[in-house]
Symmetry: none
Subunit: 187 residues, 4 copies
C-alpha cells in the first residue's frame, strides 16, 4: 500500500471514530505512519483530503452496487440485485458507510455539485423508467421512487446494525426485500 492509500485508510478510520473536526491531520499522519508534512504533500488541504476520501468511497460503493446487474433479466431481479448489493456494501464496509452518512449530513455536502448528487439517480433512472413503462412499478415520479428506495435501504442497514445476528440470516433479507417491493410495486 502506498503512502496515499495509507493516509486515506487512516483518515477513514479516525474521521469516522472522532468526527471530522475532532480529528487533527497530525493524528491521521501518525496513524498512517507518515510525517505530518507528507499528508500535505498528497492533499493540499484537510478539506481536499476529506473530499478526496468521499470521492474514493463513492466510487467504491457504486462499483460494488452494480456488480452482477448485467446478468439479470427482469426489472424485479435487477432491483433486487442492487438492493442486496447496496445493503451488503453498507454492512461489510461499515466505516465507509458511516463516513458517507456523516459527510452527507455535514456542511461539506453543500460543496458537492448538482451533477455529483444526481449521479446515482441517473444510473438507476433507466431501470426505474422501464419498470414504470412495463407497469411493474407504481406510476409516480422517478426521483420519488429513487428517494424511497434509498431510504428503505438505509432503514434496513440501520436495523441490521442494531440487530447484528440477522446479518447472516438469508430469510431476513427475503422478508425485507418483499416489504420494500410492496412499497414500490404496482398493485
Amino acid at each position: 500500500m502506498d503512502k496515499r492509500a495509507k493516509i486515506l485508510a487512516a483518515a477513514l478510520k479516525l474521521l469516522v471514530e472522532q468526527g471530522f473536526h475532532s480529528t487533527p491531520t497530525s493524528a491521521i499522519a501518525k496513524a498512517a505512519g507518515v510525517a505530518n508534512g507528507t499528508l500535505f504533500h498528497y492533499f493540499k488541504t484537510k478539506d481536499e483530503l476529506i473530499l478526496g476520501l468521499y470521492a474514493d468511497i463513492k466510487k467504491d460503493s457504486l462499483r460494488k452496487i452494480l456488480q452482477g446487474i448485467e446478468g439479470q433479466q427482469s426489472v424485479k431481479a435487477k432491483v433486487k440485485t442492487i438492493w442486496y448489493n447496496s445493503i451488503n456494501w453498507s454492512i461489510t464496509e461499515k466505516e465507509k458507510h458511516n463516513f458517507k452518512q456523516q459527510f452527507m449530513h455535514s456542511p461539506y455536502a453543500t460543496q458537492l455539485s448538482q451533477e455529483d448528487l444526481e449521479e446515482e439517480l441517473k444510473l438507476f433512472s433507466d431501470m426505474i423508467k422501464e419498470g414504470i413503462e412495463k407497469k411493474i412499478l407504481k406510476d409516480i415520479p422517478i426521483d420519488l421512487i429513487y428517494h424511497i428506495t434509498h431510504y428503505q435501504m438505509l432503514a434496513i442497514v440501520s436495523y441490521l446494525n442494531l440487530n447484528p445476528h440477522l446479518i447472516e440470516d438469508a430469510d431476513f433479507y427475503e422478508l425485507a426485500f418483499e416489504l420494500f417491493w410492496d412499497n414500490i410495486k404496482r398493485v
Copy 2:
C-alpha cells in the same frame, strides 16, 4: 425571550448553517446579542449547549408529533396523524430537523443514552402492537416497522425539500401516505 432562549435560537441557526465545529461560541453569543461569558453562564461547555439544544428540539418535536392523536379511532388514522405531523414538523421546523439529522450523524450521537434513543419507539410501540394484533399491519418485529416508518418519513421530507412546490399539495401527501401504507399494511 430570555437570554437562554436567545442563545439557543442563535445556536440553532448558526450550527445548522456552518456545522458544529465551524461555529465559534463567540459567533453564537454575538448573534444572540449577549456577551461571550453569558453563554457559558447558561451552558458550562459548548458540548452542553449542543446537547441541550438537541434535548429541547426533541421535546418540541415529540410534542408536535403527538398532537391530535387522541381524537383518532382506527389504527390507520392514528398512524396517518403521526405520519403527517412528523413530516409537517420537519418541513415547518426545517432548521430543527436539519440540526437533529446533523446531530444524529455526528459523534455526539454516541453520548445519547439507550433510553434516549428508544424514547420515540416506546411511544409508538403500543399503537404498532395494536395494528399487528388486529391484523392491519404486517406481522413483523415492532422495531422493524418503526424503523421503516421513520426512514419513510425522512425520504418524503428529503423529497419535499428538493421539490418545494409540493409542500402545499394535499394530493401529494395522500399519495405519499398511501405509498407508505402499502409498505406496512398486511395484504
Copy 3:
C-alpha cells in the same frame, strides 16, 4: 461568625489548598455560603482580600507568640517562650502558617512595606540587644540573630510536619530548643 469572617475562613482554606491564582473568588464565596457579589462588598478586590487575610493572620500570630512573655525574667526564658509559642502556633494553626509561607514566597510579598517586614524584628530587637549586652548571646548583628532564629523555627516546624508523632513529645521540644540555643548563645 459574621460574613466577613466566614469569607476569610473560606479564603484561608481554599487559598492554601489550591494556591492563590487557582482559587476563584466565586469558589471562596460559595464555600463561605455567601453570594458572589457579597465578597466584593467586604473586599474591593481579590488582592485586598489576600492582603487582608495576611494582615489578620499576622496579627493573630504576633498576639499568640507574645503570650506569657511578661512573666519571664531571664533572657533565655523569654527566648524560650517565644520560640515555643511560635512553633506551637505554626503547628496548631497549620493552614495559617502555610498561607504565610506561600504569601511570603509569592509576588504579593513585594507589596509589603519595609515597616511591615521589620515589625517582628523590632518586637524582639530589645530582647536580643539585652541578651548581647548581658553577654548571653553572641555578639553578632541583631538582625542576623533574628534571621537565624526565624529559620530555626521554620526548620523545626517543617520537621514536625514530617514527623507528626513528635508533636506531643515534650522531650523533643527540649532537645530542639537546646540545639537552637547552642546556635546563638555565647560560648
Copy 4:
C-alpha cells in the same frame, strides 16, 4: 542556544519576576523569541514547563553543590564545602534560587514524588552518619540535622540578600559557618 533552552531561560526570568500564574505563556514565548505554538511544541502544558524548569534547576543546583567535595578529608571540611557551595549557588544563581523557593511553597510542590523530595537528603546522609559515628556531630536524627542545615543556609542566603555588601566579605562566611557549626557539632 537552542529553542528549548531559550524558552526555559525566558520562563525562569519571567516566572520569578511575576509569579507562576501572572506570567502568560505568550509572554514567555515572546521573551524567548519564539512563536506561541513553539513553546507548546517543547512542553505539552504550562505545568510541564514549570515542572521541567524545576527539574533542570534542581539538577544544576545539586551538581554545583557537590563540586570539590571529593578532595576533602574531614567531616567538617566536607560540610563546609557543601555549606559554602550551597550558599554560593543561591547567591550567584539568585533567580534559580528564588524559583526553587517559590516552587516549593506553591501547590506545585505537592506534585513532587517522595523520592524527589528525599534526593538531597540521601546524598548527604552518609556524611552526616559518619559525623555522628565519629562523635563530631550531635547524636540526633539524621534528617533533623539535614533539616536544620538546610534552613540555616536559607537564613544566611536571605540575610545576604538583605545585606549585599557582605557577599564579598570572606570573614562573614567564616563567622556564619562557625555559627552554624556550633548548632550541629557535639559539645
